[in-house]
Amino acid sequence: MDYRNILTVCPYCGAGCGLYLQMLDGEMVGVLPAKEHPVSQGKLCIKGWNAAAFLRHPDRLPRPLIRQGERFQEASWEEALRLVAEQFRRISSRYGPEALGFLASAKCTNEENYLMQKLARAGFKTNNVDHCARLCHAPTVAGLAAAFGSGAMTNSTPEFSQHTRCFLITGSNTTEGHPLIASHILKAKQQGAKLIVIDPRQVQIGRLADIYLCPQPGTDVAWLNGLMYVIITEGLADQQFIQTRTEGFDQLWEVVQQYPPDRVAQITGIPAAQLQTAARMYAQNKPAAIIYAMGITQHTTGTDNVKCIANLAMLTGNLGIAGAGVNPLRGQNNVQGACDMGALPNVYPAYQPVSAPEVKAKLEAAWQVEGLPEQIGLTVVEMIHAAGQGNLRAMYIMAENPLLSDPDIHDARQCLEQLEFLVVQDIFLSETAQLADVVLPGAAWAEKDGTFTATDRRIQRVRKALPPPGEAKADWEIICLLAQRLGLRGFDFAGPAQIMEEVARLAPSYGGVSYERLDREGFLQWPVPSPDHPGTPYLHKEKFTRGLGRFLPVHFQEAAELPDEEYPFILTTGRSIFQFHTGTMTRRSPKLEQEAPEPYIEIHPEDASRLGLKMPGKVRVISRRGQIELTTRFTEQIRPGVVFIPFHYAEAAANALTQAALDPVAKIPEYKVCAVRVEPIGQS
């Protein structure tokens, strides 16, 4: 009777909840919430409770697959790795390293992401390495780095229930997207904190708010400037903070003074009086935390939106104190970590620029290689386009599913089909894996050791509870085996703990991280530069990373594609609490799938009645890029003229409709605004 519990971290969103896997005689018999975990505090959402449900699903890949014409043939590791090594070496020497692309993964551990970018850079001399952070918080990294000098969430989740007096939540469906972060917000609300929600959809957290404002999608810069106008003109700005901690206020005012509430109302549809009330509430209840997610970033003006948020927080002195700050909620369990590890085309681990000669020299010495590339590599969407144009010839995709997650997926598929060679490493045969030449079976989160970094820079251990199915292997192990076959040095690690030792030597903000400390202390929040440093719950105390905080004023610009007569609705996309991203895990978890098994469109009843729609009924939704069919859900919690579709469903993929219009700085696609037409099906 061997009954024990293994402490690990949930594999879904970026909240980083702690959970125990209950093991009886080596078999998993259930999940328990970790009562003493600082974020989840003995609670979980429905996905956390079901986090282990897909691990033994019959669709799990037990052995490598090699394409034979239209079909896959099972193969040995020996055959599969030999083929991958040969093809990558051939394509690299024939077309140059820039013909290779690598996608790391926000689902995999820090150690695995570190190795993936090391393989691309040290092994093949290319910076063409990126991952799905590009599609969620690239504007956050760009915008906040410019304003503060660091692109991460400034504060910590537990501070919300301990210190925060006011929340401004925008573009975050918090109770569905980050349920256990919402738990801290609800606790604070119970204790009297104020809650402002500004979102085109009145999601659950909006229904619980003190003030809910409903802007037209794609008008965030306008209402953010409007809030600042009110705060400055009513004398509510924190003058001392502005004078001692920031620069560029005069330039900010030059721009912001052009956004009086009446003009903002015309652009956004938010009544002037409501905007004023919200501005006062935010400015007068300190510490105030701004919380945002994809609703802010997934725009062609994503970086501008983030800059405005940084401006607003600095204007009111809400930085460098507990419970305040600018808090981007990161979507994946380890998207923060994958960025920290340098799985980005412009930076090495800990955001050290690839273009800096001293960084290059340091990495070349550490990795014992020469000629690391200085040129910034391609981003996710650029890689896909380069594949379509024949400039990218081979791709290695680890645990990502761009054929469902990228914008305009019909185009993405055609591009990937142009590749000479595609390797996909995953736990299931995803839509993307089905296109691969070689599929390498990975181990899932509960089948390997490693670390994840949660949205609040919280580095935590994940622990192996079960062996992977069949011959599947941990991703770090697969990368090491491939690197060894390629004859590369520096990939012979005994295990993830040893990989983290190398990370700690090279990434200054992870300098004090070790498995020994993580096991003892439970978590560490970066920056944690040395073994005796306690870690950093909130950033920019007394001084910004870049010295002074910098106001970066921006003017409102319209979204790339606006509704017209032919496509009269604005489509916005997002999540449901019951599913996750492209559904590879949740749709194979029975208790999750049964809650939301079918793709649906949310539409306002006024629009529905004008179009003669029924509920339940079927509609066809058409954009300039594609069309899908789904079931109707009428709701007054969305603006008339706007429709919402969750992006989890391959059979009615929202991203068949979206466009690859990119933010010019962060290269994120505009998932949150495109123009569509809605037609009833089978109704007279």
């Binding site: 009777m1 003493e36 003995g42 959402c45 809650e595």
Partner: protein, 275 residues
Amino acid sequence: MKENELVEILRGCAARKLPELDGLLGILRTTEGAAPYVFHHCEELAGLVLSPRYPLGGIVRVLQARYPKARLGVVVRACDLRGLVELAKRGQVAPDRLYLLAVACTPEEAQHCRCQRPVPNPTGWPQVEVLGSPAAAAEAHPLLVQNERLGLAERWAFWRQEFAKCIKCYGCRNICPECFCQACALEDPLWVERGILAPPFPTFHLVRAMHMASRCVGCRQCELSCPAHIPLTVLYELLRRDVAEMFGYQAGEDLSAQPPLSLSLTEETTPLPNP
């Protein structure tokens, strides 16, 4: 008695008893944290602690299903003991092979939980040893007092507001030691429309509440697991009072008392008393 003194006494008893048992279920604290664990060796008992509390009744069910013959010891609090009593009545655990080390909660703990029954009451349980000194019942939850004063419409409004926060994690059910059904009414679209957030008011929560009548032993695990901080123990305590009033039944107090809402279709049933 302070918790650390109590833990020392508990470890002593456990060390004495462990050789006679096939395992002792309790909470093990290591450098990584504290979680349920089955102890086999006396050396391990240095890590045996009393808190945090986890729902051990549900784990006993799993262990006994796998090892029906094993002699299992369990470290319980008063509420865990009541929970095991109700599970035994429903055929989910076998009391004759369970040896209980029942620890009385300290006055601070009783106050913290607002527990009305902090002292283990082993009536009818075959093998149980009670440790610690009895604490007095705590004062009732202020929300309970408030709810009793509210009129029907105000009560309705209060709970509507609380349930609007629900994120449908099913944590209240998942953590509940008394919830063991294979098929759960909460997942049946006949009763609760699926995929809606917050779940439909009031069916989701009241269906669960009705199923807890005569079962809920007030262990608070549901409330502690609720991400939305819904005061579920207040709701279930109100229900427990109704059950006590209508049927004279107190869940978990006496192993031989039959729960009024567990009907047998093969035996003659007692009709409800006239109101």
